[in-house]
């Protein structure tokens, strides 16, 4: 029951962040919102595993966290340098 309540709380957070992602004022708002959605998804996968009684798949949330970080770094690098890559 506790896990279900946590999942519900995550969905409320998700909704709030989604509003920020869609109606964000600046670009940085939206980047931060996309990053936060990634974090919420990572947490939700972990909690969902415990809720379904199969917490073996927590490794996936680690992969998600890494991918989320790489994506955010790529977006920010594009904004900083105007291009990706060396040339």
């Amino acid at each position: 029951m506790m896990f279900l309540a946590i999942l519900f709380a995550f969905s409320v957070c998700f909704l709030l962040i989604l509003i920020r992602l869609i109606a964000g004022k600046t670009t940085y708002d939206r980047i931060l919102a996309a990053n936060s959605i990634g974090t919420i998804v990572v947490l939700a996968i972990s909690i969902h595993g415990f809720y379904m009684g199969r917490p073996e798949f927590i490794d996936i949330s680690i992969v998600y966290a890494l991918i989320n970080f790489i994506g955010t770094v790529a977006v920010l690098k594009l904004f900083d340098k105007g291009k990706l890559g060396d040339k």
């Binding site: 969905s11 869609i22 980047i31 959605i37 990634g38 969902h48 977006v75 594009l78 990706l84």
Partner: protein, 192 residues
């Protein structure tokens, strides 16, 4: 069961909202951000449907690689999308889309129910795979046994195709960079 349906419906409605905003946004960078978010939510739904391997692929390819590839392509593109005017050919295309989609939905009523254990897909080979794979091959994971042994030639062919494609792309790019560096070296020599 009910909670699973509620969770999946929640995720699908999120995906629908994000997809609508992907269609509406005119700035390319926001489209890319929203698409990455979309595939993260899709991966979460795959986890809740117990398709963990698909979720893994969706997260690494959909949210990771394709977002970065789109961003790399974006640096060569104009930052804003041009607003297209609505022309009448689109109505024809839309009607064809609706017609074919309707036909496919109509045809889907003849399919067996999802998850029914008497479906032919669960009766034909799957029981043999589940019962026999450990004795035939000795691999405890059924999916690995199917991919690496029962469908081994298939997987081998796929790997060769992907390897050849990667090699071809590498050769093309390598020749181009080689020519460019040769040109620049010749230019420098002729300047001297």
């Amino acid at each position: 069961m009910i909670t699973e349906i509620i969770i999946n419906a929640f995720l699908v409605s999120f995906m629908l909202v994000i997809a609508l905003f992907i269609v509406n946004t005119r700035k390319v960078i926001f489209t890319i951000l929203l698409a990455g978010t979309y595939s993260l939510v899709a991966a979460l739904m795959f986890v809740s449907l117990d398709a963990v391997d698909v979720a893994f692929t969706e997260a690494s390819v959909g949210a990771g690689i394709s977002t970065i590839l789109f961003l790399a392509a974006l640096s060569f593109l104009p930052k804003e999308e041009v607003q297209e005017s609505f022309n009448k050919n689109n109505i024809f295309a839309l009607s064809i889309c609706l017609l074919i989609g309707g036909l496919l939905i109509w045809a889907s009523y003849d399919l067996p129910m999802v998850g029914n254990e008497n479906n032919p897909v669960h009766q034909h080979l799957v029981s043999d795979f589940i019962e026999g794979s450990k004795n035939h091959i000795g691999i405890p994971n059924v999916v690995t046994a199917i991919l690496a042994s029962y469908r081994g030639y298939d997987t081998f062919g796929e790997t060769i195709v992907i390897y050849t494609a990667g090699l071809a792309v590498f050769i093309l790019l390598y020749n181009r960079t080689l020519k460019e560096t040769n040109k620049s070296v010749k230019n420098e020599i002729s300047k001297k």
